[in-house]
């Protein structure tokens, strides 16, 4: 077993005891990327020079006996929707080709301060709109479990980089499931923290009231440790919560759910959910029961409307957020031949620069906000959102956390749903309510579906600012399943061209 197959906290331990340097660790990951990424295509940009420089600096500090943060020297893959000073940031769009932001996102600042080595930027659906990473202007990412299949989306690049051992840690963003659904279909762990728990400053907005950056990893503890690096109040983000960060690392290490009430959401199973997904979900429930948790069923009837409401709110905000891409200040510019006016150049640029799914949502959102339609569409959707929150509040009266499958199916084939947007949207049916309510959600692997041998995700939802509860349940479930399987689920993934 190579060093790259370790969990991030195990790598950190080796760095600490001097048996490994950050430069060695970083190089090992670049070697793996060199071997497998042509097939996986998880990365859009590699900053090898910058990363190795950072790794060497951390090694020097460690050699001097400086006290360092827990993950200092551990590499990470950054979703290409967060700005990193001087590093190309495309959001998976042609529109931003060549743009190098002049500033760091707050998440990136905190990663750098913690000494985490940023390997590069990962592929994603254009502007985070999609569930398969097929909407990237730079070509799809392939699922390391089966290269003909999608790695989920929008953060397919981040999840695939973990599953392909190209990085032990990654950052994703989750507007309707873009961290959790990719985690589910790649057999990795992904967490959407409580809205406002992690700063959005420097996260290129898709839907401001739903977007949330979060940790991606191969273990619950790694995700918790990364969570504590990036979370916390940021005065640059008005919607960031000014309260202590929940103690998620402590919770992930508890490995105890005795007496906890786990609510199974009635509306998030059954019709539309793949047989094997439901079976593995029930295995997870059994493991929790065995660990001493009490299972209760809860009903959230308005969840049936959450998807429809989401597809009004998110496009509405997106139509406004993406208006700034007009070629005037940054990004590509089309048709500026000296004979065309600004308006025409804006039109041509937006026509060329945006892909079909982005255009679809801009048009949908523009329509939903138009005078005469606003109340019926955007207004009604906001009401549904309030009702979804009420359903959650009522459910959390009966249970400490809620659970469901993370996604209705395992990874589907590349190309299978590209011409059917509605089918594509249904991939997020289980994850969207969490974003609508602004609460926390986690996906962790709960086994492989019998019919296709592909990973299934188990979703845990916790009340706002009680993110520690999902880590407590997730950590316990992970440990129970690991002892049952005898090895991490990724050890069952097929061999890629690289080391294993």
């Amino acid at each position: 077993m190579s060093v790259i197959n370790l969990a991030a906290h195990e790598m950190a331990a080796k760095l600490n005891d001097g048996s490994l340097t950050s430069v060695e660790l970083t190089n090992a990951h670049y070697d793996q990327i060199a071997q497998v990424d042509e097939a996986v295509h998880a990365f859009l940009y590699l900053d090898k020079e910058g990363a190795l420089e950072q790794a060497a600096a951390i090694d020097a500090k460690r050699a001097q006996g400086e006290s360092l943060a827990p993950f200092a020297g551990v590499p990470l893959a950054l979703k290409d929707v967060l700005t990193q000073k001087g590093i190309p940031t495309t959001c998976g769009s042609k529109m931003l080709e060549g743009w190098r932001p002049p500033y760091d996102a707050t998440v990136v600042t905190r990663l750098k301060e913690a000494g985490i080595v940023i390997l590069g930027k990962t592929n994603m659906d254009e502007f985070a709109m999609g569930s398969s990473t097929e909407n990237s202007a730079y070509g799809p990412t392939h699922n390391p479990w089966d290269l003909d299949r999608i790695p989920g989306g929008s953060g397919g690049g981040s999840a695939a980089s973990l599953a392909a051992f190209e990085a032990p840690l990654a950052i994703g963003t989750d507007t309707g499931g873009s961290i959790r659904q990719p985690a589910a279909v790649t057999g990795t762990v992904g967490v959407k923290p409580t809205y406002g728990g992690v700063s959005r400053y420097g996260l290129v907005a898709f839907s401001s009231s739903l977007d949330q950056a979060g940790p991606c990893a191969r273990t619950v503890l790694d995700a918790a440790m990364l969570h504590e690096v990036i979370a916390g109040h940021d005065p640059k983000d008005s919607t960031s919560i000014n309260a202590p960060v929940p103690q998620v690392v402590k919770a992930a290490k508890k490995l105890d759910v005795k007496g906890m009430k786990i609510g199974v959401v009635k509306e998030l199973q059954g019709d539309g959910f793949q047989r094997g997904v439901l079976d593995r979900f029930h295995d997870g429930l059994d493991a929790l029961i065995a660990a001493g948790a009490e299972i209760v069923e809860v009903s959230c009837p308005t969840f049936d409307y959450a998807l429809a409401a989401y597809y009004l709110i998110a496009p509405s905000e997106c139509s406004s957020n993406l208006a700034r891409f007009d070629s005037m200040r940054y990004g590509i510019r089309i048709g500026d031949d000296g004979n065309r006016g600004a308006e025409e150049v804006m039109n041509l640029t937006r026509h060329e620069g945006f892909g079909p799914e982005v255009k679809r949502r801009i048009i949908l959102g523009t329509y939903a906000l138009s005078s005469g339609y606003y109340d019926a569409y955007y207004g009604s959707a906001q009401k549904v959102r309030t009702l979804v929150m009420r359903d959650f509040n009522a459910a959390f009266e009966k249970a400490d956390v809620l659970v469901s499958p993370s996604a209705p199916t395992t990874a589907f084939k590349i190309g299978e749903q590209v011409d059917d947007p509605l089918a594509m949207y249904l991939n997020d049916i289980a994850t969207i309510p969490v974003n609508m309510a602004g609460i926390g959600g986690m996906s962790l692997p709960c086994g492989l579906a019998t019919e296709d041998g592909l990973p299934v995700g188990f979703q845990i939802m916790s009340p706002a600012m009680k993110d520690d509860l999902m880590y407590q349940v997730g950590g316990t479930l992970e440990a129970a399943l690991l002892s049952k399987w005898g090895a991490p689920i990724l050890s069952q993934a097929p061999e890629l061209a690289g080391s294993k």
Partner: protein, 501 residues
Amino acid sequence: MTLNFDEAMVKYEPTLGLEVHVELNTNSKMFCSCSTQFGAEPNTQTCPVCLGLPGALPVVNGKAIESTILIGLALNCSIAPFSRFARKNYFYPDMPKNFQTSQYDEPICVNGYLDVEIETEEGPKQFRVEIERVHMEEDTGKSLHVGGATGRIHGADYSLLDYNRAGIPLVEIVTKIVSGTGKYAPQVARAYVTELRDILRSLGVSDVKMEQGSMRCDVNLSLAQAGSGALGTRSETKNVNSLRSVERAVIGEIVRQSNRLEAGERIVQETRHFLEESGQTRPGRSKEQAEDYRYFPEPDLVPVVPDAVWIEELRATLPEKPSARRKRLQAAWSVPDKEMASLVNAGLLDVVEQTIELGAEPARARSWWLGEISRLANEKEADPTSLITPASVSEIIALIVAGDLTDKLARQVVEGVISGEGSPRDVIEKRGLKVVSDDGALMAAIDAAIAAQPDTAERVRGGNIPAAGALIGAVMKATGGQADAARVRELLLNVLGQGGK
């Protein structure tokens, strides 16, 4: 035939609406920490937030909220316990995000009023202008269109964009419909903007310099048949950049619209631009096809929920209303109405008050500022308050009262100070401007005058006191105007046996 203003006002009844934009004088912008200093090199006062770079987020400037609440309180508004920002979506190159962060259906201040007083044929009359709302928003950048004939975008070769102004905090103050003014609409509009400007200045929240654009006014005006009680179609005149222009724009629109209506044409709902030279307006973009700004609550900002105690603390800091202050000062200084109006219109109230506070008599302080100093300022086409300080003026007045300067000498001192020759003392010293108070020197001049005009002297001896004027004049001339005329008169009459007269 063409209607003039008076004829138009016989047949039509005007309805006004005034929208005033004010740039707040906060040190930093509305949603970022960039400087708001006027006149910097283009695009030097920008950052990811005010440039609308991908990923950047706004944070509200607390000082801007405080200033807006102060404005609302001074305009007798209710302060909303919960208000929100909203996005106004439209594309324009000088707007970095292609939406303006503004307020829409939940503004911070609502339902106020401002009482203004105007002169009418029946004497002073008060009008109440009701305020619909006071809300916050951010300014846009500036476009400079290069080439073409007019500096307008149409026909330009290319455009330059300066985002220094983008994100500067703006407050928009919108009146309700102002009706019932009849022919006094132009004066009411001007008085409202004047009073508003004075209030904003007294609050210290804005520079309120219309010529620099820190206060801008849009005039909405419609006409209806007199007595019909109906509401006509309105035009919105922009670019009204002085108090005088406000009045002229109202007159111009009343004349234009009434003549259209007379000709049987309809008024088009449109934006018009005020032309400073002619006092008329020209059409801008038509609003016939209403723009859809797709307003929705700004998800990047949390609602504004001002603390009730804080609001009361702010209320307690409100300065005296300019109108009340004017009344108080007028009474204290016993100034006639007309002269008070002159002081106010000339913007001299503050300096006169300061001059008086430094010890000058009110009458002298007023007459120096309104008279000689204003005359010199007029010659130089400058603001009188920028030429000389109240301290210098009060010092000069003190010297006059002490008999060290005559009025004539004092005028030279003022002229010297304004020309940059230094303080009043410096000017007196350098120019040798000192009253001749040596009686011996005066007596020699008096004797010479009597000798030169024996007949006149004889008439004075005979009791014709007014005849002494010619002799006094001669003495003053002989002393180069530096003698105290009163002392000359006293000495002369003594010599001619008319002492004590």
